[in-house]
Symmetry: C2
DNA sequence: GTGATTGCAAATCTTTTGCACTAAA
DNA sequence: TTTAGTGCAAAAGATTTGCAATCAC
């Protein structure tokens, strides 16, 4: 169990990202950031919201996830064309992807070490490196 | 310029994958495998087919790409939720992804070396490791 | 009040599917 | 022939968008 964060802190966080702390952004942020590191899809988050009695449309969930991602509060992860995952852990780290269940699992940042990385093509700079380890049941 | 492969070789390749060498599969295979390593989307391949006077429906292009992928002739790469890329290079290697243009570029297999890789979660085995280096203009 | 945000439904886009037709073996 | 493969249009999903209503400031 993660201790519940005071609302003021979440409000501050949203405001700091340049967004108005509206009722739904607050509620979604609370679900996202008050429960440790999470990997959610829009659909999952929408379902949770409804379960918590928070009335919010799926479109708003999508918009909010995108805004949070642009603001650097979330990180988008694409492992299969079907749907996008949003990761509340924005620090440098990688993932296991369970191909059977679609489940995503963090790999601690220093459990993957690159011995060599190629230079970016000329005129380009490296934005980020994603490592996805696809695993399936033995 | 890659030398054009004789048809017989392509036919054999398709047959070996357990698929009938139909007119459209042959034509698509020729476009795919006769031009070096390629990263194509269904849309791109469909467009090329039409340009070459090969009448084939987009649905068939999708079906064929999936069949080739299942048969191990292609490898699917997902870098962004918008569309899937299919890579004619099925050997172990990684990619640069140009986030501005959507362009994919191979990184030679041994230009990325993993110093450490975590063990797969228990009961799981590693299927494949994908490294995507996202780059953007400086 | 005023402009940002939301909700909803409709629109979009990619990919898959059902089924009658065609072609490979 | 017999069975797999194709084309088309329709279906299915995920995500985005337009616009009137609502809310934060």
């Amino acid at each position: 169990m993660t201790a519940s964060r005071p609302y003021s802190q979440i409000i501050e966080r949203i405001r700091h990202a340049g967004l108005r702390p509206t009722r739904q952004r607050l509620a979604l942020a609370k679900l996202l950031f008050d429960n440790g590191n999470r990997h959610v899809t829009a659909e999952i988050l929408h379902g949770e919201s409804l379960n918590h009695g928070i009335s919010v449309s799926l479109a708003t969930v999508y918009n909010t996830l995108n805004q949070f991602t642009t603001a650097g509060l979330l990180r988008e992860i694409v492992v299969n064309g079907d749907r996008s995952y949003f990761d509340t852990n924005t620090t440098q780290h990688h993932h296991f992807y369970h191909t059977d269940s679609g489940h995503l699992e963090d790999i601690a940042g220093d459990d993957v070490v690159m011995e060599r990385l190629p230079a970016a093509p000329s005129g380009m700079e490296i934005e980020r490196v994603d490592v996805i380890v696809r695993v399936s049941p033995t």
